[in-house]
C-alpha cells in the first residue's frame, strides 16, 4: 500500500516538476522572441517560425518526463 502511494506521489511530483522546467524554458524563449521582434519588426516572421520550432523541441523533452510519469502511475499497481 505504501509503495502504491509513493508511486503515485512520485508520478505527480515528477509531472509537476517537468511542467515547471518546460514553462520556464518556453517563457524565456517567448521573451527573447518578443525582444527580437521589437528590435527589428521586419524579421517578425522568421523569429516566429524559429520560436515555434524551438518551443516544440522543448516540449518534446518535457513529454519524455510526462511519459515516464504516466508509465509510473498506470503500472503502479
Amino acid at each position: 500500500m505504501i509503495q502504491l502511494a509513493l508511486a503515485f506521489l512520485g508520478a505527480g511530483l515528477g509531472a509537476g516538476l517537468a511542467v515547471i522546467g518546460a514553462a520556464y524554458g518556453i517563457g524565456r524563449l517567448a521573451a527573447a522572441a518578443m525582444e527580437g521582434t521589437a528590435r527589428q519588426p521586419a524579421s517578425a516572421g522568421d523569429i516566429r517560425t524559429s520560436m515555434i520550432i524551438a518551443a516544440a523541441l522543448i516540449e518534446g523533452a518535457t513529454l519524455f518526463a510526462l511519459v515516464v510519469c504516466i508509465l509510473l502511475a498506470t503500472k503502479a499497481a
Partner: protein, 91 residues
C-alpha cells in the same frame, strides 16, 4: 516570407536555398552527434551491465561497473568527436 538573400553570394553552392536555421544546425551537427555518442555510451554500458547481471545472476555490481565503464566510454567518444569536429576545415 522574404527569400533567403544568402543565395546571392554563391548561387552554385550546394547549400543554396537553405535557411539560416538549417545552416546553423548543419554546422552544429557534428557537435550534436558528439553529445548523442555520450548518451549512447552510457546507455550501452547500462544495458550491457543489466543483461550481464540477469545472465550471471550476480548482485547489482555488474550493473554498476557496466554503467561506470559506459560513462567512461561515452566521455571518450564525446571528446574524440569534438576534437575531430574542430579539426575539420571550416568555411
Amino acid at each position: 516570407m522574404d527569400r533567403n538573400h544568402d543565395d546571392d553570394r554563391n548561387p552554385e553552392e550546394k547549400h543554396a536555398g537553405m535557411s539560416g536555421f538549417a545552416r546553423a544546425m548543419q554546422a552544429a551537427g557534428p557537435y550534436l552527434q558528439a553529445s548523442y555518442s555520450l548518451a549512447g555510451g552510457v546507455a550501452l554500458g547500462v544495458i550491457a551491465g543489466y543483461y550481464a547481471d540477469e545472465k550471471l545472476g550476480t548482485t547489482p555490481w555488474l550493473l554498476v561497473t557496466g554503467s561506470v565503464l559506459g560513462m567512461a566510454l561515452g566521455v571518450y567518444a564525446f571528446i574524440k568527436a569534438v576534437l575531430e569536429a574542430g579539426k575539420r576545415p571550416r568555411r
